[in-house]
């Protein structure tokens, strides 16, 4: 609690962001209200959107096929707007585990998972998960047997990716809503598994 109210100078990038934003407002390119509305919209989206998609795919095989064939269109079916970008959904199976990164910057399926966690944008994660994915997954507590193939997806251009986690055993009679409750952000990035407990 002692951190509250403590003065800390802005970092280089924070200062650049404030300067640029103030300039854009001053020049009339955008208004303060527009900036606030976009920020509020971004903050209002969270991983529960992706969880809804996953739970539907787990309970509806036909939906799952549509989702894997065209992620953006399948999200629209659930009323989720996936603007201008193309979503590729990659499916975990007992033989294949998928994990997502953007080694160049921090491309992330914000429309389904909200704002990315800080570690996703860190140089550590971005440089290492592509080179030693098993070691990085282990640091998240995810240890996979050697015979499970790991597929890393580097979102370097116009696609965005989401992992469809493996449905945990013992959830056969669960409702879609209850299933959505166990689908975590990290399981849709691929650094964790969906678990019942």
């Amino acid at each position: 609690m002692s951190e509250l109210g403590k003065y800390a100078p802005l970092t280089y990038f924070q200062l650049m962001e404030v300067s640029l934003r103030e300039l854009l407002v001053e020049k009339g390119v955008v208004s303060d209200a527009e900036v606030d509305a976009v920020a509020a919209d971004m903050k209002s989206r969270g991983p529960e959107r992706g969880a809804k998609v996953v739970a539907r795919a787990w309970t509806d095989p036909a939906y799952k096929q549509r989702l894997l064939a065209d992620g953006s269109a399948a999200c629209e079916e659930l009323g989720l707007d996936v603007p201008a970008l193309r979503l590729v959904v990659v499916e975990n199976t007992p033989a294949v585990h998928n994990v997502i990164v953007c080694t160049l910057c921090s491309c992330y399926p914000r429309m389904l998972l909200g704002l990315p966690p800080d570690w996703y944008k860190s140089r550590n994660y971005r440089s290492r998960v592509v080179r030693e994915p098993r070691a990085v997954l282990a640091e998240f507590g995810t240890r996979l047997p050697e015979e499970v193939a790991i597929r890393v997806h580097d979102s370097t251009a116009d696609m965005r990716y989401m992992v469809l986690p493996l449905r945990p055993a013992g959830t056969e009679d669960w409702s879609e809503e209850r299933l959505a409750g166990i689908v975590t952000r990290d399981s849709m990035i691929g650094v964790a598994l969906a678990k019942t407990a």
Binding site: T103, A149, V152, A157
Partner: protein, 101 residues
């Protein structure tokens, strides 16, 4: 997808090699994958060339974009992990050449 787009030269399953080039500018082909060969996993569509967009130009005609799948053991000589481990990277067509089978 942009209306003004080049037709895709490659199809899924084709073996391709990423150019080993180091031009300046806004390049979305990661360093670590340059010079590596892999297999076209899918055609993503055609998108304005980001290298041109970064120079405030139109980026048209749109460049075909592919997802290319590489074997990790070939990308990293000291890779420790399964032989079936892969990395998929999105690469624009002008960075790809046909590779020997």
């Amino acid at each position: 997808m942009a209306a003004e787009a080049l037709a895709a030269r490659f199809k899924p399953g084709d073996r391709v090699r990423v150019m080993k080039a180091y031009p300046l500018g806004h390049i979305r082909t990661p360093y670590y994958i340059r010079g590596c060969s892999g297999v076209i996993e899918r055609i993503c569509g055609a998108f304005p060339n980001p290298e041109e967009l970064a120079q405030m130009r139109s980026g048209l005609p749109a460049q075909p974009l592919y997802r290319v799948r590489f074997a990790q053991a070939e990308v990293w000589p000291d890779y420790r992990g399964g032989r079936d481990d892969t990395v998929d990277v999105e690469i624009f067509e002008h960075w790809l050449d046909k590779a020997a089978e």
